[in-house]
Symmetry: C2
Subunit: 130 residues, 2 copies
DNA sequence: CTCATAATTGATAATCATTCTCATTTTATA
DNA sequence: TATAAAATGAGAATGATTATCAATTATGAG
């Protein structure tokens, strides 16, 4: 993997943003720093970095994938109402992997947990913006 | 929800198939029993039935969604090599929900766990067909 | 430093899965 | 049985992502 300015900017933008952006949202932010960047370049680099384990691709949230610079063991919660994505940490989860591997004989190299429901704000009726 | 022959056939076809088909695959099977069925009808009904809880839509496996007639608590494993989807049952999983709800104050109404890796056959080098 | 090769880019076309539209048909019910 | 609501089939439209390809940029050997 050779150096590229675009990749650097994509990675740093993803890091600076606390959220879990979709490619589309990320693109709109990137355009400000790098007006000529192509959407294809963005997707290419997100896929590359996800493959190398530099970032994480989150599927199953919405029709579009979200991307996460946090590669530590954690999961996600999407609020059905405000559509915000929250990080969830769990120390129970790793047990599932060990147990499942033992029971099935499968080699699990990754897994993901996606929760959905209402976040605290929406649950309490305190509506916030998306 | 009114009765429709097409919905009945979609549901029974999904039940008869042990696998976790994509809409595309299901469509190819359906065509034999109901040659004039429209792809739109299939998607419409799959979504409807998933909403009613009659079936389950599985995302995060591949780019296309898979559908499952098994609505009992269980999870899925997709083999990176043969792409087959396996059921995984876990009694550890429910704990995660309780714990997460307590810690976050969120109202979790659904969650999904997707494992990926190599199934036993592929892991052992016994290559089988997709 | 300079060339050759490989990697990367931007622009845009193409693809894939899914949803939408709408005129027609079917179902439920008063 | 008439009527309203629900469902259908066909195909157009959409949204997200990937593929193509010529031009640009990075890298490494000499």
């Amino acid at each position: 993997m050779n150096y590229s300015r675009q990749r650097e900017i994509i990675y740093s933008t993803l890091k600076e943003n606390v959220v879990h952006p979709t490619a589309e949202y990320l693109y709109s932010v990137l355009k400000e720093k790098e007006p000529n960047i192509s959407l294809a370049t963005l997707y290419r680099n997100l896929n590359q970095m996800a493959e190398k384990g530099l970032i994480k691709k989150i599927d199953g949230l919405e029709s579009a994938s979200h991307y996460d610079h946090n590669t530590h063991e954690h999961y996600h919660f999407i609020c059905k109402k405000c559509k915000r994505v929250f990080d969830i940490s769990s120390d129970v989860a790793p047990q599932i992997v060990v147990k499942t591997e033992k029971e099935t004989g499968f080699e699990i190299d990754s897994y993901d947990i996606v929760f959905s429901g209402l976040c605290k704000d929406c649950f309490e009726g305190i509506k916030e913006d998306k």
